[in-house]
């Protein structure tokens, strides 16, 4: 019964849906504020129902399958992508007594499940029979390969520091000093995550001005909605993972709980939106150079720093 609740309500399906509705509205509002606009306004309190209407609209639209594509590949990935993204939810500790699968290999499973998502998006580009989609697919593959190395390396930092890959143990053993030690790692992790999520300034795979909408180009209606849902689930997971790995997860100064985790995630969302509103997109070759000449060496250095800090600051064990 509890498992069913976990799957359907929290941290499962309903939670993801509510999160997607909320974070879409929230990012629109924050972005509008930075743009000196109003943002969603008319539907519901502060335009809060706007995303509900948008989702309903997308559900009601026809899902067009283009000519000459493999309909199974084209139709399967929008189902696979959100499902796979939601799988990751079971690994994360959401509150002191809610983690669905408490495993020794938490960090490993987390980075693998996050890292597999861009492959699916590559397949959407591959299966769309559209030059723009194909370019978008190639781009996301290139970007993922470049970014994933530092993503994994950065995620290893807390595992090394605390000597475990169990996410609950990591959260429970975090304190102010470890958070400070892990701060460079958190930064690297977040930057690499922006790359993996294809967010500005790394929104190269769906660069609107260059290749229309990249791998999304041919997707409409429900299929598009499902892909978007996968994207928002990825946001949820990456934010939650960042907070869990580097910022003591659900633990707060005054009280522990899901609300603390959620607040920290929102802070990350605001950071992401601010980056989006103030940084132009970089070129593909600039991204490659950045990833391989700066990010990867830095993430190795970060590991060295964590080991040194562990030995000399925490007394090593």
């Amino acid at each position: 019964m509890e498992l069913l609740f976990n799957i359907l309500v929290f941290p499962g399906l309903l939670f993801v849906l509510l999160w997607a509705l909320f974070v879409f509205w929230f990012s629109r509002k924050v972005l509008a504020y930075i743009h000196k606009r109003v943002g969603p306004h008319y539907n519901g309190m502060g335009g809060s129902l706007q995303t509900v209407y948008d989702f309903a609209k997308l559900l009601g639209k026809e899902s067009i399958t283009p000519h000459n594509v493999n309909p199974y590949l084209f139709g399967l990935i929008p189902l696979l992508a959100p499902t796979l993204a939601m799988l990751t939810l079971v690994l994360l500790p959401w509150s002191p007594n809610l983690v669905v699968v408490n495993t020794q290999y938490g960090v490993l499973a987390l980075v693998v499940l996050i890292g597999i998502e861009p492959f699916l998006l590559f397949l959407t580009g591959f299966g769309s029979n559209n030059k723009y989609s194909f370019l978008g697919g190639i781009r996301i593959l290139t970007q993922m390969i470049s970014m994933e190395t530092s993503f994994f390396m950065a995620a290893l930092a807390p595992a090394l520091l605390f000597g475990t890959m169990n996410l609950v143990t990591i959260v429970e053993s975090a304190n102010w000093l470890t958070t400070l030690i892990l701060l460079p790692g958190a930064l690297l992790f977040f930057i690499a995550a922006l790359g993996i999520l294809a967010q500005p300034p790394f929104n190269i795979p769906d660069a609107e001005q260059e290749i229309v909408y990249g791998f999304y180009t041919e997707y409409t209606g429900t299929n598009y909605l499902l892909l978007k849902l996968a994207e928002f689930t990825e946001f949820l997971i990456v934010f939650a993972a960042t907070v869990t790995l580097f910022f003591a997860g659900y633990r707060g100064d005054v009280f522990d709980g899901f609300a603390v985790l959620f607040f920290k995630m929102l802070v990350l969302a605001v950071v992401m939106i601010t980056v989006r509103a103030s940084t132009p997109r970089i070129r593909l070759d600039q991204m490659l150079r950045f990833a391989w000449t700066y990010l990867v060496p830095l993430s190795f250095l970060n590991l060295a720093w964590v080991l040194i800090a562990k030995v000399y600051l925490l007394g090593g064990s």
């Binding site: 930075i34 743009h35 000196k36 606009r37 030059k131 723009y132 370019l135 190639i138 500005p200 300034p201 929104n203 190269i204 660069a207 609107e208 001005q209 260059e210 290749i211 229309v212 909408y213 509103a277 103030s278 940084t279 132009p280 997109r281 970089i282 070129r283 593909l284 070759d285 600039q286």
Partner: protein, 546 residues
């Protein structure tokens, strides 16, 4: 100037005289001399052939070609006319494209619309006109537009066939390795109504071939069906972004032919309205530049400021975009002093926001890393390719019609050339910003001058707005130039005695030459550079296609 006049007079010319401040107007008796004259002019520094404008005279059985040569550095220009036969078989003249690359598309345009065959043109293909007009030469006087429109279905089918031909070419190239043709436009998020056929190898561009004409409205023909004031409806729609300066250009040509100078008050009003038009356009332009890199924040902020300037236009004319506020004879409405207060509020709004623009966007490191290395235009390219306006000034070429050939009341304004050095995309963006600042300064000078003039009784804002221009003009022709927000806008107006409509109006718009540059600038770059270079050239499809 004297030396230039002597040079031209040395050829077989039937007339050769100075025209306005910086033109020599001459007519060749035979087209055989054209190449040698053009070569001599080029050797003398007149390196930009900005356009060629045919005028059709069926009564005399001749087509008159007008060539406009410019020297951006010393402000010496030459206007050379030559007659050619009107019959389609004999309607030909040596092409000047091999000598002056700047005239390439202009010759193609004259070929498409008038059927002038330019012998020796590297690729004399149709341009601008839609498929159903090919081979019909619609701007010739005898062309029956109504009969053409009657065949609507066949015309549409013709356009569809053209599309299918293109589609077949594209399809044939699919699936052969990583080489393919990518259509950047016309229904593309960043292209506007223009298509670039981009030959790519993966992400690398092999070549770019612009396909233009998606918003060809035949503006130059449309004005021929309207009276001299009604023509404004077409003129101001060259491009919505800078609406007022285009009307100033046209109005000046009409006033010159009518021989009616406008009042000093109306001149100063034109400066004011023209600068508002420039600010409104540049604020769109700077936002559009960052849009090409996927960042819309600057656009939103700039549009926020732009609204205040649109308010001024609305207060003055009742319309925000298509204002029709300047007509031959002056400006359309008298000035109410409250307008100056609204304008001052708009300037204050810009100045309050300016530091944010600079801190976040001009000095943006990501933008600089991308934009300083692409789209580099050298001063030689500017002079040889007929580039103008912001694009020319960003390469360090001192050209600005407001200073070179002052019109309206710009001679009373204290201003300089806004220049940059390297000519990269980033420099063009920088110059746009500098020019907004400059326009604010000019606006302040204009406001002060208007206030002073009205107080001293020199200007009578109620009575001085317009002088009457007769409905019918004498035989005549005029060339009028203004510094439009996008560059030099030139109009060549021909009128005939007792006609109530313009006989021929040729509009030389800056975007044509700027779009021609895309091929050179983008070759060997990557897909990501297309929107950036395209955006930095500040192209408007409205004045590209006309």
């Amino acid at each position: 100037m004297q030396q230039l006049q002597n040079l031209i007079a040395g050829f077989n010319v039937s007339s050769c005289e100075p025209y306005k401040q910086c033109w020599i107007k001459a007519k060749l008796t035979t087209q055989d001399d054209l190449i040698s004259l053009a070569t001599a002019l080029k050797a003398n520094g007149l390196t930009s052939l900005i356009t060629v404008s045919p005028t059709d005279f069926p009564d005399d059985n001749r087509l008159e070609l007008n060539y406009f040569f410019e020297d951006l550095l010393t402000r010496r220009n030459a206007w050379i006319k030559v007659d050619i036969p009107r019959e389609l078989d004999a309607c030909q003249i040596p092409s000047l494209t091999p000598l002056f690359p700047s005239v390439n598309w202009h010759e193609r345009e004259a070929f498409s619309t008038f059927g002038v065959r330019f012998i020796g043109h590297p690729a004399l293909e149709d341009i601008f006109i839609s498929e159903d007009f090919i081979g019909k030469f619609p701007f010739r006087k005898g062309f029956d537009w109504q009969a053409h429109e009657a065949n609507l279905i066949e015309n549409m089918a013709c356009i569809v066939r053209g599309f299918e031909r293109e589609h077949a070419i594209n399809d044939a190239r699919m699936g052969k390795g990583s080489h393919t043709t990518l259509n950047w436009g016309p229904t593309h998020p960043a292209s506007g109504p223009l298509r670039l056929r981009v030959e790519v190898n993966g992400e690398d561009i092999i070549s770019v071939k612009p396909d233009v004409g998606y918003v060809w409205r035949g503006l130059e023909h449309l004005v021929e069906g309207k009276d001299f004031v009604g023509a404004l409806v077409a003129i101001e729609r060259i491009c919505f972004m800078d609406n007022t300066n285009a009307m100033i250009c046209y109005a000046q040509a009409v006033e010159e032919i009518a021989g009616k100078p406008i009042t000093p008050f109306a001149s100063m009003m034109r400066v004011m309205l023209g600068e508002i038009g420039r600010v409104v356009s540049h604020l769109m332009g700077i936002g559009g530049f960052f849009n090409t890199m996927g960042l819309v924040t600057l656009q939103m902020w700039a549009l926020d400021v732009r609204e205040y300037f649109l308010d001024v236009l609305e207060d003055y004319s009742g319309a925000r975009i298509a204002t029709a506020s300047i007509e031959p004879g002056g400006v359309r409405y008298p000035l109410k002093l409250a307008l100056l207060v609204t304008l001052e509020a708009a300037i204050a709004k810009y100045e309050a926001t300016r530091s944010e623009f600079y801190a976040i966007f001009i000095n943006n490191p990501t933008m600089q890393s991308r934009a300083t290395v692409v789209g580099i235009i050298t001063p030689e390219m500017v002079l040889n390719n007929g580039l103008c306006g912001v694009v020319a000034r960003a390469s360090g070429v001192k050209t600005d019609i407001r200073l070179d050939e002052p019109y309206a009341a710009y001679d009373k304004i204290n201003m300089t050339y806004m220049l940059a050095e390297q000519g990269s995309a980033k420099n063009r963006f920088e110059v746009l910003f500098k020019e907004v600042d400059q326009s604010m300064d000019i606006l302040k000078q204009a406001i002060a001058d208007l206030r002073r003039g009205i107080e001293s009784g020199e200007y009578r804002p109620e009575k001085d707005a317009m002088v009457r221009i007769p409905k019918k003009l004498p035989d005549g022709e005029a060339v009028s130039r203004v510094e439009w927000s996008r560059g030099e806008l030139m109009m060549h107006l021909v009128t005939r005695k007792s006609d109530e409509t313009p006989y021929r109006l040729k509009i030389k718009a800056p975007s044509v030459n700027h779009t021609m540059m895309l091929e050179t600038l983008l070759a060997g770059k990557t897909l990501s550079d297309i929107p950036l270079v395209f955006g930095s050239l500040y192209i408007c499809q409205g004045d590209l296609d006309r």
